[in-house]
Protein backbone atom coordinates (compact mmCIF):
# COMPACT_ATOMS: atom_id res chain seq x y z
CA UNK A 1 0.00 0.00 0.00
CA UNK A 2 1.38 3.38 -0.92
CA UNK A 3 1.55 6.29 1.41
CA UNK A 4 -1.09 8.32 -0.38
CA UNK A 5 -3.70 5.48 -0.36
CA UNK A 6 -3.30 5.07 3.38
CA UNK A 7 -3.45 8.74 4.16
CA UNK A 8 -6.11 9.88 1.65
CA UNK A 9 -9.15 7.59 1.86
CA UNK A 10 -11.42 10.58 1.35
CA UNK A 11 -9.83 11.45 -1.97
CA UNK A 12 -10.06 7.81 -3.04
CA UNK A 13 -13.79 7.77 -2.24
CA UNK A 14 -14.21 10.97 -4.19
CA UNK A 15 -12.41 9.41 -7.15
CA UNK A 16 -14.67 6.33 -7.04
CA UNK A 17 -17.73 8.58 -6.95
CA UNK A 18 -16.50 10.50 -9.98
CA UNK A 19 -15.86 7.26 -11.88
CA UNK A 20 -19.31 5.94 -11.01
CA UNK A 21 -20.94 9.10 -12.19
CA UNK A 22 -18.91 9.00 -15.41
CA UNK A 23 -19.98 5.39 -15.97
CA UNK A 24 -23.62 6.42 -15.55
CA UNK A 25 -23.18 9.25 -18.04
CA UNK A 26 -21.55 6.88 -20.52
CA UNK A 27 -24.40 4.38 -20.15
CA UNK A 28 -26.95 7.15 -20.72
CA UNK A 29 -25.09 8.22 -23.85
CA UNK A 30 -25.00 4.61 -25.11
CA UNK A 31 -28.74 4.20 -24.48
CA UNK A 32 -29.48 7.41 -26.30
CA UNK A 33 -27.31 6.39 -29.29
CA UNK A 34 -29.05 3.00 -29.43
CA UNK A 35 -32.45 4.68 -29.40
CA UNK A 36 -31.38 7.06 -32.16
CA UNK A 37 -29.97 4.19 -34.20
CA UNK A 38 -33.26 2.30 -33.89
CA UNK A 39 -35.08 5.45 -34.97
CA UNK A 40 -32.81 5.79 -38.00
CA UNK A 41 -33.39 2.15 -38.94
CA UNK A 42 -37.14 2.67 -38.67
CA UNK A 43 -36.87 5.80 -40.80
CA UNK A 44 -34.90 3.92 -43.47
CA UNK A 45 -37.50 1.19 -43.47
CA UNK A 46 -40.40 3.65 -43.82
CA UNK A 47 -38.77 5.79 -46.46
CA UNK A 48 -37.76 2.76 -48.52
CA UNK A 49 -41.29 1.45 -48.43
CA UNK A 50 -42.72 4.85 -49.34
CA UNK A 51 -40.27 5.26 -52.22
CA UNK A 52 -41.21 1.88 -53.62
CA UNK A 53 -44.90 2.69 -54.19
CA UNK A 54 -44.66 5.72 -56.53
CA UNK A 55 -41.74 4.06 -58.29
CA UNK A 56 -43.89 1.00 -58.96
CA UNK A 57 -46.51 3.31 -60.50
CA UNK A 58 -43.87 4.99 -62.71
CA UNK A 59 -42.58 1.64 -63.94
CA UNK A 60 -46.08 0.34 -64.70
CA UNK A 61 -46.99 3.48 -66.67
CA UNK A 62 -43.72 3.26 -68.60
CA UNK A 63 -44.32 -0.42 -69.36
CA UNK A 64 -47.80 0.38 -70.66
CA UNK A 65 -46.29 2.95 -73.05
CA UNK A 66 -43.35 0.72 -74.02
CA UNK A 67 -45.59 -2.21 -74.87
CA UNK A 68 -47.66 -0.03 -77.21
CA UNK A 69 -50.90 -0.40 -75.23
CA UNK A 70 -51.69 3.28 -75.79
CA UNK A 71 -50.57 3.24 -79.43
CA UNK A 72 -47.46 2.09 -81.26
CA UNK A 73 -44.28 4.02 -80.51
CA UNK A 74 -41.55 4.64 -83.03
CA UNK A 75 -38.24 2.90 -82.27
CA UNK A 76 -36.65 6.02 -80.72
CA UNK A 77 -39.64 6.59 -78.46
CA UNK A 78 -39.60 2.93 -77.46
CA UNK A 79 -35.88 3.09 -76.59
CA UNK A 80 -36.46 6.15 -74.47
CA UNK A 81 -39.38 4.63 -72.57
CA UNK A 82 -37.42 1.40 -72.12
CA UNK A 83 -34.76 3.55 -70.47
CA UNK A 84 -37.35 4.76 -67.95
CA UNK A 85 -38.32 1.16 -67.19
CA UNK A 86 -34.76 -0.08 -66.68
CA UNK A 87 -33.72 3.02 -64.72
CA UNK A 88 -36.76 2.54 -62.50
CA UNK A 89 -35.97 -1.11 -61.99
CA UNK A 90 -32.38 -0.30 -61.04
CA UNK A 91 -33.64 2.22 -58.50
CA UNK A 92 -36.07 -0.38 -57.17
CA UNK A 93 -33.23 -2.89 -56.73
CA UNK A 94 -31.35 -0.33 -54.68
CA UNK A 95 -34.37 0.35 -52.48
CA UNK A 96 -34.83 -3.38 -51.98
CA UNK A 97 -31.18 -3.62 -50.97
CA UNK A 98 -31.79 -0.96 -48.30
CA UNK A 99 -34.86 -2.84 -47.06
CA UNK A 100 -32.87 -6.09 -46.86
CA UNK A 101 -30.19 -4.27 -44.89
CA UNK A 102 -32.75 -2.76 -42.50
CA UNK A 103 -34.28 -6.18 -41.89
CA UNK A 104 -30.91 -7.79 -41.26
CA UNK A 105 -29.75 -4.90 -39.06
CA UNK A 106 -32.81 -5.20 -36.86
CA UNK A 107 -32.58 -9.01 -36.74
CA UNK A 108 -35.74 -9.50 -38.75
CA UNK A 109 -34.17 -12.00 -41.11
CA UNK A 110 -35.20 -15.59 -40.58
CA UNK A 111 -33.19 -18.31 -42.25
CA UNK A 112 -35.13 -20.97 -44.11
CA UNK A 113 -32.43 -23.63 -44.64
CA UNK A 114 -32.74 -26.44 -47.17
CA UNK A 115 -30.24 -28.85 -48.72
CA UNK A 116 -29.00 -27.76 -52.15
CA UNK A 117 -26.03 -27.77 -54.50
CA UNK A 118 -24.19 -24.51 -54.18
CA UNK A 119 -22.73 -24.90 -57.69
CA UNK A 120 -26.26 -24.70 -59.10
CA UNK A 121 -26.81 -21.40 -57.33
CA UNK A 122 -23.43 -20.10 -58.53
CA UNK A 123 -24.33 -21.04 -62.11
CA UNK A 124 -27.71 -19.34 -61.73
CA UNK A 125 -26.12 -16.11 -60.50
CA UNK A 126 -23.55 -16.29 -63.35
CA UNK A 127 -26.43 -16.58 -65.84
CA UNK A 128 -28.27 -13.64 -64.27
CA UNK A 129 -25.14 -11.48 -64.58
CA UNK A 130 -24.14 -12.65 -68.05
CA UNK A 131 -25.65 -9.70 -69.91
CA UNK A 132 -24.04 -7.15 -67.59
CA UNK A 133 -20.66 -8.89 -67.82
CA UNK A 134 -20.89 -9.18 -71.61
CA UNK A 135 -21.27 -5.40 -71.89
CA UNK A 136 -17.80 -5.07 -70.35
CA UNK A 137 -16.42 -8.17 -72.11
CA UNK A 138 -15.83 -9.85 -68.76
CA UNK A 139 -15.69 -13.60 -68.34
CA UNK A 140 -17.29 -15.25 -65.27
CA UNK A 141 -16.09 -18.81 -64.76
CA UNK A 142 -16.71 -21.42 -62.13
CA UNK A 143 -13.41 -23.19 -61.52
CA UNK A 144 -14.52 -26.36 -59.70
CA UNK A 145 -17.14 -27.72 -57.31
CA UNK A 146 -18.82 -30.52 -59.29
CA UNK A 147 -17.92 -33.06 -56.59
CA UNK A 148 -19.07 -30.98 -53.57
CA UNK A 149 -21.62 -32.45 -51.16
CA UNK A 150 -24.84 -30.43 -50.82
CA UNK A 151 -24.86 -27.55 -48.35
CA UNK A 152 -27.59 -26.97 -45.77
CA UNK A 153 -28.34 -23.26 -45.80
CA UNK A 154 -30.90 -20.64 -46.84
CA UNK A 155 -30.69 -20.85 -50.62
CA UNK A 156 -32.10 -17.36 -51.32
CA UNK A 157 -29.75 -15.72 -48.83
CA UNK A 158 -26.68 -17.48 -50.24
CA UNK A 159 -27.82 -16.47 -53.71
CA UNK A 160 -28.05 -12.89 -52.45
CA UNK A 161 -24.48 -13.05 -51.06
CA UNK A 162 -23.13 -14.46 -54.34
CA UNK A 163 -25.13 -11.89 -56.31
CA UNK A 164 -23.62 -9.04 -54.31
CA UNK A 165 -20.05 -10.37 -54.60
CA UNK A 166 -20.30 -11.10 -58.32
CA UNK A 167 -22.10 -7.79 -58.92
CA UNK A 168 -19.25 -5.95 -57.20
CA UNK A 169 -16.65 -7.87 -59.18
CA UNK A 170 -18.37 -6.78 -62.40
CA UNK A 171 -18.50 -3.18 -61.20
CA UNK A 172 -14.86 -3.00 -60.15
CA UNK A 173 -13.19 -4.92 -62.96
CA UNK A 174 -12.25 -3.00 -66.11
CA UNK A 175 -13.25 -4.10 -69.63
CA UNK A 176 -11.96 -7.45 -70.73
CA UNK A 177 -11.24 -8.67 -67.20
CA UNK A 178 -11.76 -12.00 -65.55
CA UNK A 179 -14.04 -13.07 -62.69
CA UNK A 180 -13.99 -16.53 -61.15
CA UNK A 181 -15.75 -18.54 -58.46
CA UNK A 182 -13.93 -21.39 -56.75
CA UNK A 183 -14.40 -23.73 -53.82
CA UNK A 184 -12.09 -25.31 -51.29
CA UNK A 185 -12.61 -27.23 -48.06
CA UNK A 186 -11.10 -26.63 -44.65
CA UNK A 187 -11.07 -28.31 -41.28
CA UNK A 188 -9.99 -31.79 -40.19
CA UNK A 189 -12.66 -33.52 -42.25
CA UNK A 190 -13.22 -30.76 -44.74
CA UNK A 191 -16.30 -29.69 -42.81
CA UNK A 192 -15.96 -26.04 -43.76
CA UNK A 193 -16.63 -24.91 -47.30
CA UNK A 194 -14.73 -21.85 -48.50
CA UNK A 195 -16.28 -20.04 -51.45
CA UNK A 196 -14.10 -17.61 -53.37
CA UNK A 197 -15.26 -14.87 -55.71
CA UNK A 198 -12.18 -13.40 -57.37
CA UNK A 199 -11.46 -10.84 -60.06
CA UNK A 200 -8.44 -9.23 -61.68
CA UNK A 201 -9.93 -5.75 -61.31
CA UNK A 202 -8.92 -2.54 -59.55
CA UNK A 203 -8.32 -4.14 -56.16
CA UNK A 204 -8.70 -2.66 -52.67
CA UNK A 205 -5.93 -1.07 -50.60
CA UNK A 206 -5.11 -2.96 -47.40
CA UNK A 207 -6.35 -0.06 -45.25
CA UNK A 208 -9.82 -0.50 -46.69
CA UNK A 209 -10.23 -4.26 -46.23
CA UNK A 210 -12.30 -3.81 -43.07
CA UNK A 211 -14.07 -0.67 -44.22
CA UNK A 212 -15.70 -2.27 -47.26
CA UNK A 213 -17.82 -4.54 -45.06
CA UNK A 214 -19.18 -1.63 -43.04
CA UNK A 215 -22.64 -0.33 -43.84
CA UNK A 216 -22.81 2.76 -46.05
CA UNK A 217 -19.01 2.71 -46.39
CA UNK A 218 -17.58 3.22 -49.83
CA UNK A 219 -13.89 3.50 -50.54
CA UNK A 220 -14.68 6.49 -52.74
CA UNK A 221 -17.73 8.17 -51.21
CA UNK A 222 -17.51 11.43 -53.20
CA UNK A 223 -20.54 12.40 -55.29
CA UNK A 224 -18.34 12.24 -58.39
CA UNK A 225 -17.26 8.66 -57.68
CA UNK A 226 -17.38 6.50 -60.80
CA UNK A 227 -19.21 3.59 -59.10
CA UNK A 228 -22.56 4.23 -57.51
CA UNK A 229 -24.57 2.06 -55.20
CA UNK A 230 -26.07 1.97 -51.76
CA UNK A 231 -22.81 1.01 -50.04
CA UNK A 232 -24.72 -1.81 -48.39
CA UNK A 233 -23.92 -4.80 -50.60
CA UNK A 234 -20.98 -6.14 -48.61
CA UNK A 235 -22.50 -5.21 -45.22
CA UNK A 236 -25.53 -7.31 -46.18
CA UNK A 237 -23.31 -10.12 -47.45
CA UNK A 238 -21.48 -10.13 -44.13
CA UNK A 239 -24.71 -10.21 -42.10
CA UNK A 240 -26.14 -13.04 -44.17
CA UNK A 241 -22.92 -15.10 -43.97
CA UNK A 242 -22.68 -14.52 -40.21
CA UNK A 243 -26.30 -15.64 -39.78
CA UNK A 244 -25.07 -18.96 -41.23
CA UNK A 245 -22.22 -19.02 -38.66
CA UNK A 246 -19.76 -18.33 -41.46
CA UNK A 247 -17.07 -15.69 -41.99
CA UNK A 248 -16.37 -13.34 -44.87
CA UNK A 249 -13.15 -11.52 -45.76
CA UNK A 250 -11.17 -10.07 -48.62
CA UNK A 251 -7.60 -10.52 -49.84
CA UNK A 252 -6.55 -7.77 -52.19
CA UNK A 253 -4.03 -5.15 -53.18
CA UNK A 254 -4.55 -2.04 -55.25
CA UNK A 255 -4.18 -2.85 -58.93
CA UNK A 256 -3.96 -6.59 -58.29
CA UNK A 257 -7.59 -7.65 -58.22
CA UNK A 258 -9.66 -8.83 -55.26
CA UNK A 259 -10.46 -12.23 -53.83
CA UNK A 260 -13.51 -12.34 -51.57
CA UNK A 261 -13.99 -15.44 -49.46
CA UNK A 262 -16.82 -16.69 -47.32
CA UNK A 263 -17.26 -19.90 -45.38
CA UNK A 264 -20.25 -22.13 -44.81
CA UNK A 265 -20.33 -25.14 -42.51
CA UNK A 266 -20.84 -28.18 -44.78
CA UNK A 267 -22.60 -30.32 -42.20
CA UNK A 268 -24.54 -27.59 -40.43
CA UNK A 269 -26.69 -28.75 -37.56
CA UNK A 270 -30.24 -29.38 -38.67
CA UNK A 271 -33.19 -28.60 -36.48
Amino acid sequence: MTMSERTEPASLKKRIKTLESQARDAQRAIDELKARDALKTQFLSNISHDLRTPLAAIITHAEILRDGMLGELNPKQRDSVSGIVSGGQQLLDMIDEILTYVRSASDQVNLVPTEFNITEVVDQVRMLNQALAAKKHLSIERLNGDDLPPVYADRDKIKHVLGNLIGNAIKFTPDGGRIWIGFSRRGKEGEELVVEVGDNGYGIARDHHELVFREFAQVDASPSRPHHGTGLGLAIARKLVELHSGRIWVESELGKGSRFFFTLPLNAQRE
Binding site: R52, T53, P54, A57, T60, H61, D67, L70, N110
Partner: protein, 122 residues
Protein backbone atom coordinates in the same frame (compact mmCIF):
# COMPACT_ATOMS: atom_id res chain seq x y z
CA UNK B 1 -73.35 -10.75 -75.34
CA UNK B 2 -71.40 -11.85 -72.25
CA UNK B 3 -70.67 -9.08 -69.79
CA UNK B 4 -67.04 -7.94 -69.74
CA UNK B 5 -64.65 -9.37 -67.18
CA UNK B 6 -64.62 -7.19 -64.11
CA UNK B 7 -61.46 -6.51 -62.10
CA UNK B 8 -61.48 -5.00 -58.63
CA UNK B 9 -58.21 -3.27 -57.76
CA UNK B 10 -57.67 -3.14 -54.00
CA UNK B 11 -54.74 -0.81 -53.42
CA UNK B 12 -54.21 2.12 -51.10
CA UNK B 13 -51.94 4.13 -53.38
CA UNK B 14 -53.94 6.16 -55.93
CA UNK B 15 -50.80 6.35 -58.09
CA UNK B 16 -50.61 2.58 -58.42
CA UNK B 17 -54.39 2.28 -58.84
CA UNK B 18 -54.33 4.80 -61.70
CA UNK B 19 -51.55 2.89 -63.46
CA UNK B 20 -53.48 -0.39 -63.17
CA UNK B 21 -56.69 1.31 -64.28
CA UNK B 22 -55.04 2.40 -67.53
CA UNK B 23 -53.50 -1.04 -68.02
CA UNK B 24 -56.66 -3.08 -67.46
CA UNK B 25 -58.94 -0.71 -69.34
CA UNK B 26 -56.63 -0.88 -72.37
CA UNK B 27 -56.54 -4.65 -72.04
CA UNK B 28 -60.33 -4.69 -72.36
CA UNK B 29 -61.41 -5.28 -68.76
CA UNK B 30 -63.98 -3.40 -66.75
CA UNK B 31 -62.26 -1.82 -63.77
CA UNK B 32 -63.38 -0.97 -60.27
CA UNK B 33 -61.18 0.12 -57.36
CA UNK B 34 -61.13 0.23 -53.57
CA UNK B 35 -58.51 1.65 -51.24
CA UNK B 36 -59.50 0.19 -47.87
CA UNK B 37 -60.67 -3.13 -46.45
CA UNK B 38 -64.13 -1.69 -45.76
CA UNK B 39 -64.48 -0.25 -49.26
CA UNK B 40 -63.30 -3.48 -50.88
CA UNK B 41 -65.88 -5.54 -48.94
CA UNK B 42 -68.59 -3.09 -50.02
CA UNK B 43 -67.51 -3.16 -53.71
CA UNK B 44 -67.07 -6.92 -53.65
CA UNK B 45 -70.58 -7.58 -52.31
CA UNK B 46 -72.49 -4.97 -54.29
CA UNK B 47 -70.98 -5.85 -57.68
CA UNK B 48 -69.99 -9.04 -59.46
CA UNK B 49 -66.16 -9.27 -59.38
CA UNK B 50 -64.29 -11.76 -61.56
CA UNK B 51 -60.74 -10.98 -60.48
CA UNK B 52 -59.60 -9.19 -57.38
CA UNK B 53 -56.10 -7.73 -57.38
CA UNK B 54 -55.24 -7.49 -53.73
CA UNK B 55 -52.62 -5.37 -52.01
CA UNK B 56 -52.09 -6.90 -48.59
CA UNK B 57 -51.23 -3.89 -46.47
CA UNK B 58 -54.16 -1.50 -46.33
CA UNK B 59 -54.72 1.46 -44.02
CA UNK B 60 -57.54 -0.20 -42.07
CA UNK B 61 -56.24 -3.76 -41.98
CA UNK B 62 -54.85 -6.76 -43.81
CA UNK B 63 -56.08 -7.49 -47.34
CA UNK B 64 -56.75 -11.11 -46.42
CA UNK B 65 -59.60 -9.97 -44.15
CA UNK B 66 -61.47 -9.00 -47.32
CA UNK B 67 -61.40 -12.57 -48.58
CA UNK B 68 -62.81 -13.84 -45.32
CA UNK B 69 -65.61 -11.28 -45.31
CA UNK B 70 -66.52 -11.96 -48.94
CA UNK B 71 -66.54 -15.70 -48.34
CA UNK B 72 -68.97 -15.26 -45.43
CA UNK B 73 -71.23 -13.23 -47.71
CA UNK B 74 -70.99 -15.74 -50.55
CA UNK B 75 -69.41 -13.10 -52.83
CA UNK B 76 -65.92 -14.49 -53.47
CA UNK B 77 -64.45 -13.42 -56.81
CA UNK B 78 -63.54 -16.16 -59.30
CA UNK B 79 -59.90 -15.54 -58.51
CA UNK B 80 -57.81 -13.33 -56.26
CA UNK B 81 -54.25 -12.34 -57.04
CA UNK B 82 -52.39 -11.10 -53.99
CA UNK B 83 -49.53 -8.63 -54.38
CA UNK B 84 -46.90 -8.50 -51.69
CA UNK B 85 -43.49 -7.03 -51.09
CA UNK B 86 -42.25 -10.17 -49.30
CA UNK B 87 -41.12 -13.21 -51.20
CA UNK B 88 -40.67 -15.57 -48.26
CA UNK B 89 -42.39 -18.97 -48.48
CA UNK B 90 -44.26 -18.40 -45.23
CA UNK B 91 -46.19 -15.30 -46.28
CA UNK B 92 -46.89 -16.96 -49.63
CA UNK B 93 -48.36 -19.98 -47.81
CA UNK B 94 -50.52 -17.71 -45.61
CA UNK B 95 -52.00 -16.04 -48.72
CA UNK B 96 -52.72 -19.32 -50.51
CA UNK B 97 -54.27 -20.78 -47.36
CA UNK B 98 -56.51 -17.71 -47.08
CA UNK B 99 -57.86 -18.45 -50.55
CA UNK B 100 -55.68 -16.43 -52.93
CA UNK B 101 -55.22 -18.05 -56.34
CA UNK B 102 -51.73 -16.63 -56.77
CA UNK B 103 -49.20 -14.52 -54.90
CA UNK B 104 -47.20 -12.03 -56.95
CA UNK B 105 -44.16 -10.09 -55.89
CA UNK B 106 -44.58 -6.31 -56.24
CA UNK B 107 -44.07 -4.64 -58.60
CA UNK B 108 -45.33 -7.20 -61.10
CA UNK B 109 -44.19 -6.58 -64.70
CA UNK B 110 -47.36 -5.86 -66.70
CA UNK B 111 -46.84 -8.73 -69.14
CA UNK B 112 -46.69 -11.16 -66.24
CA UNK B 113 -49.72 -9.57 -64.56
CA UNK B 114 -51.90 -9.82 -67.67
CA UNK B 115 -50.76 -13.43 -68.24
CA UNK B 116 -51.62 -14.39 -64.66
CA UNK B 117 -55.09 -12.83 -64.94
CA UNK B 118 -55.77 -14.67 -68.20
CA UNK B 119 -54.53 -17.91 -66.69
CA UNK B 120 -56.77 -17.69 -63.66
CA UNK B 121 -59.82 -16.79 -65.70
CA UNK B 122 -59.42 -19.73 -68.07
Amino acid sequence: MASPTRILIVEDSPLVTDAFRVLFTEAGYEVDAASTVAEAIERGTSTQVDVMLLDLSLPDGNGLEILEALRERGSLPRSTLAMTGHSDPKSRRTCLDAGCSEVLLKPVPIGELLRQIERHLA
